[in-house]
């Protein structure tokens, strides 16, 4: 019986190890390719170890795709991701607080409508939202990438759940002390639900950093492009220079990977609570 168990665990380890290697290999291969000498890219059998040709990164960095330096794309991506996160965090948690703790007419009806928005897939909104931005003269701008995501149903839902956990006595005591609603929200309620806010912020930031379809459609001016869109046009420009493409891909992936490795617990727990988007 015991040896049987051990034997079955051996296969568990073996299969999991193979699965992990397959899943992680593309990242390894991306780095190896990005550090490869061009002539070694086409070798058979393939060279599995990197050449440490750091020059590839210098070449990639100096390539100025579409006449715009990479620093601009990096700035755009960071700026958009951070602004979206802050804005969505602020707007969603404000609404979440109202739905959790305040009484007002039509509260449940409004909340049901907001929940209904969850059933709408993004593809349905692409054309009319493009048109809205066109009419506002907001195509090729930062707000085109930020404002449409400045509030999130999911965020409202999540913060509402968290605010509901606040003991009612706390809220009543604050009211008796003459604490205004706004002050209670900012000074007491928000700090208490920090873990929820943080997990939500991570997912908004990640979603914004990785966004592709919407930025591709609305910002065709390179000066307002994010990294993912710049990478897409870089594929067209450097179609066969795999070492440069891989270097650029590594550059776009590394920040996300690092962020994920630091906060993996929050990411994975957020998802296993069933709370995170699919």
């Amino acid at each position: 019986m015991k040896t049987n168990l051990k034997k079955s665990y051996f296969f568990t380890y073996l299969i999991l190890a193979i699965a992990t290697i397959i899943m992680v290999f593309p990242f390894y291969w991306m780095i190896v390719t990005s550090l490869s000498k061009p002539e070694n890219l086409f070798a058979y059998p393939p060279k599995l170890l990197p050449d440490f040709q750091w020059k590839n990164y210098v070449d990639m960095w100096n390539s100025n795709p579409q006449g715009v330096p990479w620093t601009r794309y990096i700035f755009n991506t960071l700026f958009v991701a951070l602004s979206t996160t802050l804005l969505s965090l602020f707007n969603s948690s404000l609404a979440g607080f109202a739905f959790a703790k305040l009484k007002f007419p039509w509260k449940n009806q409004i909340f049901m409508i907001i929940l209904g928005i969850m059933m709408i897939p993004g593809e349905l909104l692409l054309i009319p939202n493009y048109l809205t931005l066109f009419r506002l003269h907001w195509l090729n701008s930062y707000q085109a990438l930020i404002l449409p995501f400045g509030a999130s149903v999911f965020g409202i839902f999540l913060t509402r759940q968290a605010f509901k956990q606040l003991p009612n006595e706390l809220w009543e005591a604050a009211q008796i002390d003459g604490c205004s609603i706004a002050r209670f929200y900012f000074n007491i309620a928000l700090p208490i639900i920090r873990p929820t806010l943080f997990a939500f912020a991570l997912f908004v930031f990640l979603g914004s950093w990785n966004a592709f379809m919407w930025p591709l459609i609305v910002n065709t001016d390179p000066r307002f492009m994010t990294l993912e869109v710049a990478l897409y046009s870089f594929i067209g420009a450097e179609s066969t220079n795999w070492q440069l493409l891989a270097a650029a891909a590594t550059m776009a992936t590394a920040p996300v990977l690092i962020l994920f490795l630091i906060f993996q617990t929050q990411f994975i727990e957020g998802i296993s609570r069933g709370a995170i988007k699919g």
Partner: protein, 313 residues
């Protein structure tokens, strides 16, 4: 008496103040959701009734866009072709990713060492950007110098054209998406398995059932709500999939990877057939809405799928 009136007055004042504050609190979110989610949902139905190309005038044509899309060739031929490609993709992607993630999740639930390490390795692809990782996979799939064909060659197996061939391109897209999404459903399955009572499984094991028997008769039935939930979300995300198509194949070769989602993108933002593309969006929405309704009827649980950003799909 007067005191009571004053108190009542104060209370009313406070209630009114609470109403005003409440609306103040929800207004910013309502404006954004109203402008970018509620209004466009209604507007897209309206747009789908026009012959219109973004620039220039709109001509009202009633249901003609839908007739062209669903019934009248040549456009309907394109659409039904895309519908079949989408169904093929769904039929490959959903079972493969579900079977693999359930299998890996069951292994990860065993009392093993380095569990969080394995879990991390399996999950990490999910958080990485689509275009960046597509670049690597394009290189892995490269017909002449890609490592996948090199491995096949070492194993004395015939190479494949992968993204450049029919029907291999669709398989390559499936491989890429399974790789990218696998960690997500694995984590969900692990959460479901944690919820399935351990004692019940152990009791069954003591009763002499083997591992497969325990899984088949105890775990699987208890896990079915999770399985169904994952089935629905992976069904929906498969129907919507198009970013990898855009990056890896542009719908080719011979439209063999043109899904409904990709057809929508091409009609809307390459050919600028805005009215017609709106009709595609409505039809795609109809499919997804039906799936959601079925899911909601069966379980009463909500599916989150339009959050974060439209960029991810």
């Amino acid at each position: 008496m007067e005191e009571a009136q004053v108190l009542a007055g104060l209370k009313r004042k406070r209630t009114i103040l609470e109403y005003i504050t409440s609306y103040g609190f929800i207004t910013p979110a309502l404006i954004i959701l109203g402008v970018f989610a509620i209004f466009p949902t209604i507007y897209v139905f309206y747009l789908s009734l026009f012959d219109w190309s973004m620039i220039g005038g709109k001509t009202f044509i009633g249901l003609q866009n839908y007739i062209n899309l669903l019934i009248k060739p040549p456009k309907s031929t394109d659409f039904w072709h895309a519908a079949i490609v989408t169904l093929e993709y769904v039929a490959l992607n959903v079972p493969i990713s579900m079977a693999l993630s359930l299998f890996l999740a069951t292994l990860l639930m065993k009392p093993i060492k380095f569990r969080s390490f394995f879990r991390l390795g399996i999950f990490v692809a999910y958080v990485t950007p689509l275009v960046a990782t597509s670049i690597v996979w394009e290189w892995i799939f490269h017909p002449d110098y890609g490592i996948l064909n090199s491995i096949l060659k070492m194993l004395h197996l015939p190479p494949s054209p992968w993204l450049n061939g029919f029907p291999s391109a669709l398989f390559a897209i499936v491989i890429y998406n399974v790789w990218h999404e696998l960690g997500y459903s694995t984590i969900l399955f692990m959460a479901g398995l944690t919820a399935v009572s351990k004692e019940l499984q152990e009791a069954a094991e003591i009763d002499g059932a083997n591992q497969w028997g325990v899984f088949r008769h105890v775990t699987w039935p208890l896990l079915s709500p999770t399985t169904f939930y994952i089935f629905i979300i992976s069904l929906i995300s498969s129907f919507r999939m198009f970013t990898p198509v855009l990056v890896l194949t542009q719908g080719g070769p011979y439209n063999s990877t043109t899904t409904i989602g990709y057809m929508l993108y091409r009609e809307a933002f390459q050919y600028w057939h805005s009215g017609f593309a709106s009709a595609i969006a409505v039809v795609l929405f109809g499919i997804i809405f039906t799936i959601t309704l079925i899911q909601f009827r069966v379980t009463g649980r909500r599916v989150f799928y339009s959050e974060g950003s439209e960029g991810e799909s």
